[in-house]
Amino acid sequence: MADIMTGDAMLPGRSALAGRAGMNVAAPDGGKTGLRVQEVAHIGKINIRGTKSIAKVIWNHTGCDFPPANNMVSSAGARHIVWLGPDEALLLCEAGMERDLRRKISADLAGQHFAATNVTDALCVLKVEGPDVRAVLAKGCALDLHPGKFGPGQCAQTVLAHAGVTIIATDENCFLLICRTSFAPYTLDWLQDAALEFGFVFQG
C-alpha cells in the first residue's frame, strides 16, 4: 500500500488536522524516534454497502475483491478495499478520484441494491510508524498486534483509547489508523501522550 501514501495529488480545502504543529517530543535516549505520525490527507474514501452480487462491478473499477476476505484489505495498485463487515467495506482511492469513481460504480450498479457513499471528508487517515508503534497502540487497543497475529494486509475495526478506529497493518512497523475527523484531534493528542516514553514526531 506504499503508493497511496506517497501520491502527491492534494485535495483542495483544509484537512482535519491542518494547523496542528509543535507537538514533537524528542526520543528520551537521544535515539530513534519511537513513533512518527503523518496525516494522509490526500486519499479518497468511498464507503460501500452491498453483497457479493456487486463484486464484478467493483472489480471492474478497482481491481479489488468485494467483499475482501474478513479482516483483510484487497489491494490493486493505488486502490484498496478495506473489509469493515460482511456487507460493508471502505474503498480507498487516489485523491480527487472519489467523486468520479463513485459515480461510475453507481451508474454500473443502477437498479441493484447497494450504497456507495463518499466519505472522503468524514474520515481522517493517519499513518503511524516507528520502532515502538505496536507498543504505543497497545496502550489503547485491545487487539493482539503481534506481527504474527496482525501482519501487513490485515485490518480491524476496533477502539483506540476512546475513539473508534480502523487499523490497517501496512508493514512490519507501520499502520494506518482511520478515524472520524471529529475524533482526529483527540486521537493525535492521545498518540502524542502515549509516545512520550519513546519520542514523537507529527507531520501534518
Binding site: L11, P12, G13, R14, S15, A16, G19, P28, N47, R49, G50, D87, H113, F114, A115, T117, N118, V119, T120, D121, A122, L123, A135, A138, K139, C141, A142, L143, D144, H146, K149, A161, H162, A163, R180, T181, S182, F183, P185, Y186, T187, D189, W190, D193, A194, L196, E197
Partner: protein, 1014 residues
C-alpha cells in the same frame, strides 16, 4: 559554610559482616519518622530498619497496639507505612516491599502524636469494650448521629492518611498485552514453568512481585541445585529466559487480578525503586493481559501461631527471619526463640545459630524428630519438644517469654513454665498456599489433612497451579510441577513443547511438610481471658473475637468475616485466614473443610487507582470532538460548552460583555439582521435502498412514502414504549435515497437503533445506512437578511420563495463552493442550513461572515440557539423530554399518523396509561415579574403556602430571558398542564422566595409564523 549533616546514630548494628544480596559498597541514606538511617542497595525498607534494630513500625488499626515487621514480602500485615511527602505521599505500603533508595522518606501511620507515645493506645486499656462487631453495636443508634460517629470512627480506625494534595503528580501507563502463557510468580516452580513454556516458542510472560526472580530460593543458603548454590541456579535460569525473544520478564510486577476468560491485571512498579526517576518513564504500569493459559506459581504464606502477645514487635514469621538473615544479611535479634509446629522453622533456627544468635526452639510436637531436628541439636541448639510459647511480653518490643509444656494441640499447659529473656520470636504455624488468584478465577479448593491447608482442586479458567501455591512445598516437587505446568500450558496454547522434563539434581535438607494441628495456644487461663492472642494483625482480630462472633451466631464464615472484619483491607487474609477458620471450626464443634473459606477478592495486593486510570485523565479522559470551523470560533473569542463529546461554541462575547449581554445581542441579531450558527455537529445519516421510504415510515411516527424529491420533513422517533427518543429533518434526495439529520447527542444512538431494526426485525427491507455526520460541515444562516447575504456571497440559484420554498433542498454553488442548502428553520426566521464538504467548512464560514458584514451578520452560539427556538416553542429532545414523554404529552398529535398500520411505538401509545389526565404535559410559562427568569429544573406547585412536603406538579425544562419578547419565557412539563392554560403556578425557591408564573401556550413569538419567508 559549616553546615553539617547530623551524623546518623549508630548505624546498621544488626547487619552481618557478610552474606546476602545487598551491596555493602553502596550505602543508602533514608529517613524514617524524621530520623536518618543508613542501609544498602538491595535492601527493602524493612530489612534496612531491622539492620538498624528498628522493630516498632506502626500502631494497630483498632487498639493502637505497637506493631512491627512480621513477614518479609506481600504477606506483611503490620508494617504499613506512609512513603514520600506532599503530593507524592502514599499510605499503607508494606515496608517489606519497598526497595530502598537514596533519600527515601517514610513515616509510621496511625499514631498521635508519635509512634512511641500514642494516645489511641488507650483503646488497648479499654479492650473489653472493643469486642468483635464493636462499631456495629455501639454506633447503631440513633441513626441521625451516624454522621457524627462516622467522622470519629474514620479518624480513629483508619489506616494511613492519603496525600495532602489530591492531584497525583506522577505519570502512569497502561497497556493491553497478549500472551500464550502467563506465569504468575517467579520462584522455583515459576522459573521452571516459564523456561519449559518458553522453549516451545510460545509467548510467555513471567511476572514476579519482587525486584528479582527466585522467590524463597533467594534466602535458602542451605540448598544447591545442579551442583551450584540456589542463587547461581536462579541467575542461570533468568539468563536462559532473557535470551528467548518471545519471553517477557516482568520483575516488580504483581499479578493482582484474575478475571473471566483469562483476563489478568498486573501492576509493574517501573520507577518506584529509583532515587532519580526519569521523566519519560511512568511511575507504574498496568498490564491488561489476555493469556491463552496461565501457570499460577505464587508460592505460599507462612502462618503465625496464635499465642498471647503474638503481635509484639520482634515476633516474626520464621521464614521471614531466615529471609532477612540470608537474603539481606540482617540478624533481627540476638536472643531468639523459635516456636513451631513443623520442621521448616528448624532451618531458621540453624540460620539464626549460624548468624551468631542464641537460639531456643519450642516445638509444639511432643515427639518431634527428623534430620533437621537432629541437625539443629547437633549445632548445639536447645530444642524443647512438646513446648509452646504461652505468653510473649514486652513494651515496644518482645523482651520475655513464657514457655510451657503443653498437650498435643497446645490447649492445656501440662507441665512447668519457664521464663526466658529474648528479643526475637520466630514463629511458624505451617504454610498456606497463596491460592488467591486461583480463587479469584473461581477455582475450587480442597482441604488437605496432611499438610493442613487448602489446595487448589479444580480450575475454572485455562490455568495450571504449580509449586507451593499448589500445596507442593517440597522443592523437588515444586521444580517438577513447574516444568510440567509449563509444558502443559504451552501445549494447551497450541505449541509443541518438550515432553521430557528434566528435574534438576537437588541438595537440600530433607524435611516433613506435615505440621501439627495447634490453632490456639493456651495461656493457662480460661478461654477469652488473659492477654490477647491475635489472628488477624492488620484488622486487630483476636482469637476471642472469632469465638465471640461464633457464640453470637455469626457462624457462616462470610458473616464472621464481615462482623469481625477479619481478612479484609489490604491484607485479604494472607496470614490470618486459616487460623481464623480453624478457631471458628473449633468454636462450632465443626471441621475446617465444613466451615469453608471466604472468597479471595482482587486485588491480591492494593493497586494504585493512578495506574488503573493511567492516561484516562484530564483532556484524554473523554474525547473532545471538534468541528472543522472550530479554529474560527477559537480565534474569535467564543466560549464553549460540551454537547455530548462535541465542543460547541456557546456564545461569542465581545469586549466587556457579560454572557447575558452577549446572548441577548446574538438572539436579537438573528431576528433583526442575520445570525450564523455552526450546526456541523448534527447527526447525518445517508439512507439508501428501494425500501428506504418504507423504512422511514416505520421508524418515524408520520408518513414518508409520498415525500417529494428535494423536499424535507420533520420527524419524531419513538422507542417501542411510545416515548420520544430523537427528532430531526429528513430530506428525500432521490426515490431511494434520503438524508436524515438527528440531534447532536443522538447521532450514534439513532444509527445503531435503525441498524438494529434493519438487522433484527426487518431483514427483508432493502436499506443501507451510512453515517455522514463528519462528511459535511454545516452553517445555519438565519434572519431577515439571510437571502441577501447568500446573494452577496455569490449564489447560483434563485432564492425566491416559490422556486426555493420552505422545507426543500437545493444543490448550488456558493462563492464557488459546491453546497447543499436546506431551507429549514429552527428559529422561525428565514433560514438556510448550508452543507459543504467538510474540507471547505472553514472556508464556508469565513465566506459567509465576510459576505454578511454589511448585513449585520452575527455569529451565535448554542445558548442563543436555545433561546431562539424556545421563543418559537420548539422542543429539544433531552431537554423537554427525558425518556418518559410521548408526542401527545407535547401536544404533537399532528405528527403521529393514525393511518399507518404500524410504526415503532404505535401500540404502546394506545396503552391506557398513555391517556391519563395527570401525565406531565408541555406548557409555556410567563412570569408575573417579566424580568425574573425561573431556574431550569424548578418545581411547580399550585399553592406555595401548603405544608411541606409540597405536592409537585412538574418541572421547568427550558427557561430564558427573551430579548425579542422583552420578558422571561419558560417551558415546563406539568401534570395535566394542557388543561391549565391561564392558571397561575408557583415556584418556591430554596431561599424562601416564590416565583409566580402564568401557564400559556408554548409559543412566545410570531405565533402566526409570518417570518419564515423573511
Amino acid at each position: 559554610m559549616g553546615l553539617m549533616k547530623a551524623k546518623p546514630a549508630a548505624q546498621q548494628m544488626r547487619r552481618r559482616s557478610s552474606g546476602g544480596r545487598i551491596d555493602r559498597t553502596k550505602p543508602v541514606t533514608f529517613t524514617f519518622d524524621g530520623r536518618s538511617y543508613q542501609g544498602y542497595e538491595g535492601d527493602t525498607l524493612a530489612s534496612a530498619l531491622l539492620a538498624n534494630n528498628v522493630h516498632l513500625l506502626g500502631r494497630s488499626f483498632k487498639y493502637h497496639r505497637p506493631r512491627g515487621i512480621v513477614g518479609s514480602g506481600s504477606e506483611e500485615p503490620n508494617a504499613l507505612i506512609r512513603l514520600g511527602r506532599g503530593a507524592y505521599a502514599e499510605p499503607n505500603l508494606r515496608a517489606t516491599q519497598i526497595e530502598l533508595y537514596e533519600g527515601l522518606y517514610a513515616e509510621s501511620q496511625n499514631r498521635t502524636p508519635s509512634l512511641k507515645f500514642d494516645i489511641g493506645a488507650v483503646n488497648s486499656l479499654l479492650e473489653r469494650f472493643f469486642p468483635a462487631g464493636f462499631y456495629y453495636k455501639t454506633f447503631m443508634w440513633p441513626a441521625s448521629m451516624w454522621m457524627t460517629y462516622e467522622h470519629v470512627i474514620r479518624r480513629a480506625a483508619g489506616l494511613g492518611r492519603v496525600a495532602d494534595d489530591h492531584n497525583d503528580p506522577d505519570r502512569y501507563e497502561k497497556a493491553h498485552v497478549h500472551c500464550d502463557v502467563l506465569v504468575a510468580g517467579g520462584g522455583a516452580a515459576g522459573l521452571m514453568a516459564a523456561l519449559h513454556a518458553g522453549r516451545s516458542g510460545a509467548r510467555v510472560i513471567l511476572a514476579d512481585e519482587q525486584n528479582e526472580f527466585g522467590g524463597w530460593l533467594l534466602a535458602e543458603n542451605d540448598t544447591r541445585i545442579e551442583g551450584v548454590d540456589a542463587n547461581s541456579w536462579i541467575a542461570g535460569m533468568v539468563a536462559d529466559l532473557a535470551a528467548m525473544p518471545e519471553v517477557t520478564l516482568l520483575p516488580r510486577t504483581t499479578v493482582f487480578g484474575y478475571m473471566d476468560h483469562n483476563y489478568l491485571t498486573l501492576v509493574e512498579r517501573v520507577t518506584d525503586h529509583l532515587a532519580e526517576r526519569p521523566a519519560h518513564l511512568p511511575r507504574q504500569r498496568l498490564w491488561k493481559v489476555r493469556a491463552g493459559q496461565t501457570v499460577l506459581a505464587q508460592g505460599a504464606h507462612e502462618r503465625p501461631l496464635v499465642f498471647s502477645g503474638n503481635d509484639l514487635p520482634g515476633v516474626m514469621l520464621a521464614g521471614a527471619v531466615r529471609h532477612f538473615i540470608n537474603r539481606f544479611g540482617v540478624l533481627p535479634g540476638n536472643r531468639a526463640i523459635v516456636v513451631t509446629n513443623n520442621d521448616d522453622a528448624y532451618r531458621t533456627a540453624i540460620s539464626l545459630n549460624e548468624a551468631g544468635a542464641n537460639v531456643v526452639v519450642a516445638d509444639l510436637r511432643i515427639g518431634a524428630s527428623g534430620p533437621l531436628i537432629t541437625a539443629a541439636k547437633d549445632a548445639g541448639i536447645a530444642v524443647m519438644a512438646g513446648h509452646a510459647v504461652t505468653l510473649a511480653d514486652g513494651n515496644h518490643r518482645v523482651a520475655r517469654v513464657e514457655i510451657s509444656a503443653v498437650n498435643e494441640g497446645a490447649t492445656q499447659i501440662t507441665g512447668d513454665t519457664v521464663h526466658m529473656d529474648c528479643d526475637l520470636i520466630a514463629m511458624s504455624g505451617g504454610l498456606s498456599p497463596a491460592v488467591h488468584l486461583h480463587s479469584q478465577a473461581r477455582g475450587k479448593l480442597a482441604w488437605d489433612d496432611r499438610t493442613l491447608c487448602f489446595k487448589p482442586s479444580a480450575t475454572h479458567e485455562a490455568s495450571f497451579n504449580a509449586g507451593a501455591c499448589n500445596g507442593s512445598f517440597d522443592l523437588g516437587a515444586a521444580l517438577r510441577e513447574g516444568a510440567r505446568a509449563g509444558v502443559k500450558a504451552a501445549t494447551a496454547a497450541g505449541f509443541k513443547a518438550f515432553t521430557s522434563i528434566e528435574t534438576p539434581a537437588l541438595d537440600t535438607p530433607k524435611q516433613s511438610w506435615r505440621p501439627l494441628a495447634a490453632w490456639k495456644i493456651t495461656n493457662g487461663e480460661e478461654p477469652g481471658r488473659g492477654p490477647k492472642a491475635f489472628v488477624d494483625f492488620q484488622n486487630d482480630v483476636t482469637a476471642s473475637d472469632v469465638a465471640l462472633a461464633a457464640r453470637e451466631g455469626f457462624q457462616s464464615v462470610e458473616h464472621l468475616k464481615r462482623y469481625t472484619t477479619m481478612g479484609m483491607a489490604t491484607d485479604q487474609g494472607k496470614t490470618s485466614n486459616i487460623n481464623a477458620l480453624a478457631i471458628l471450626a473449633d468454636a462450632l464443634g465443626s471441621e475446617i473443610p465444613e466451615v469453608g473459606t471466604t472468597t479471595f477478592r482482587m486485588p491480591y495486593t492494593p493497586a494504585n487507582i493512578g495506574a488503573i486510570a493511567a492516561r484516562d485523565i484530564g483532556h484524554l479522559f473523554d474525547p473532545t470532538r471538534l468541528t472543522r470551523m472550530d479554529e474560527w470560533h477559537r480565534a474569535n473569542g467564543a466560549t464553549f460548552e460540551h454537547v455530548g463529546q462535541w465542543m460547541r461554541a456557546w456564545y461569542y462575547p465581545q469586549e466587556g460583555e457579560t454572557m447575558a449581554e452577549a446572548v441577548n445581542r446574538e438572539v436579537l441579531a438573528a431576528r433583526t439582521t442575520a445570525g450564523l450558527l455552526d450546526a456541523s455537529t448534527l447527526g447525518k445519516i445517508d439512507i439508501r435502498g428501494p425500501d428506504a421510504a418504507e423504512f422511514l415510515n416505520r421508524i418515524y411516527t408520520n408518513s414518508w412514502l409520498r415525500l417529494g424529491i428535494g423536499k424535507c420533513r420533520y420527524g419524531l422517533m419513538l422507542k417501542d414504549d411510545g416515548m420520544i427518543m430523537d427528532d430531526g429533518v429528513t430530506t428525500r434526495l432521490a426515490e431511494d435515497h434520503f438524508h436524515m439529520t438527528t440531534t447532536t447527542g443522538g447521532a450514534a444512538g439513532v444509527l445503531d437503533w435503525m441498524e438494529e431494526w434493519l438487522q433484527t426485525e426487518w431483514p427483508d427491507l432493502k436499506v443501507y445506512l451510512t453515517s455522514v455526520t463528519e462528511e459535511w460541515s454545516v452553517a445555519t444562516l438565519s434572519g431577515p437578511n439571510a437571502a441577501k447575504i447568500l446573494e452577496a456571497a455569490g449564489i447560483d440559484i434563485d432564492l425566491g420563495a416559490s422556486s426555493f420554498p420552505f422545507m426543500s433542498m437545493q444543490e448550488a454553488h456558493l462563492g464557488g463552493l459546491p453546497v447543499r442548502i436546506f431551507r429549514i428553520s429552527f428559529t422561525g426566521e428565514l433560514s438556510y442550513e448550508i452543507n459543504v464538504k467538510a474540507r471547505h467548512g472553514l472556508a464556508l464560514w469565513t465566506l459567509l461572515m465576510k459576505a454578511g458584514t454589511d448585513f449585520g451578520i452575527t455569529p451565535y452560539g448554542t445558548e442563543a440557539m436555545h433561546v431562539l427556538r424556545a421563543e418559537k416553542g420548539f422542543i429539544i429532545v433531552g431537554q423537554e423530554t427525558d425518556g418518559s414523554v410521548t408526542p401527545p404529552d407535547l401536544n404533537m398529535n399532528w405528527i403521529v399518523s393514525d393511518v399507518k398500520a404500524d410504526f415503532i411505538g404505535k401500540r404502546a401509545l394506545a396503552r391506557a396509561s398513555m391517556s391519563y389526565d395527570d401525565r406531565k404535559q408541555l406548557v409555556g410559562l410567563m412570569t408575573t415579574d417579566s424580568q425574573r427568569v425561573i431556574p431550569e429544573g424548578a418545581h411547580a406547585v399550585i399553592d406555595p403556602d401548603q405544608p411541606m412536603p409540597m405536592e409537585m406538579l412538574g418541572q421547568v425544562t427550558s427557561s430564558y430571558y427573551s430579548p425579542n419578547v422583552g420578558a422571561s419565557i419558560a417551558m415546563a412539563m406539568l401534570k395535566g398542564g394542557h388543561s391549565m392554560l391561564g392558571s397561575k403556578v408557583y415556584f418556591p425557591m430554596l431561599d424562601g422566595d416564590v416565583i409566580e408564573a402564568e401557564i400559556v401556550e408554548p409559543m412566545f413569538f410570531d405565533a402566526k409564523g409570518e417570518r419564515i419567508n423573511g
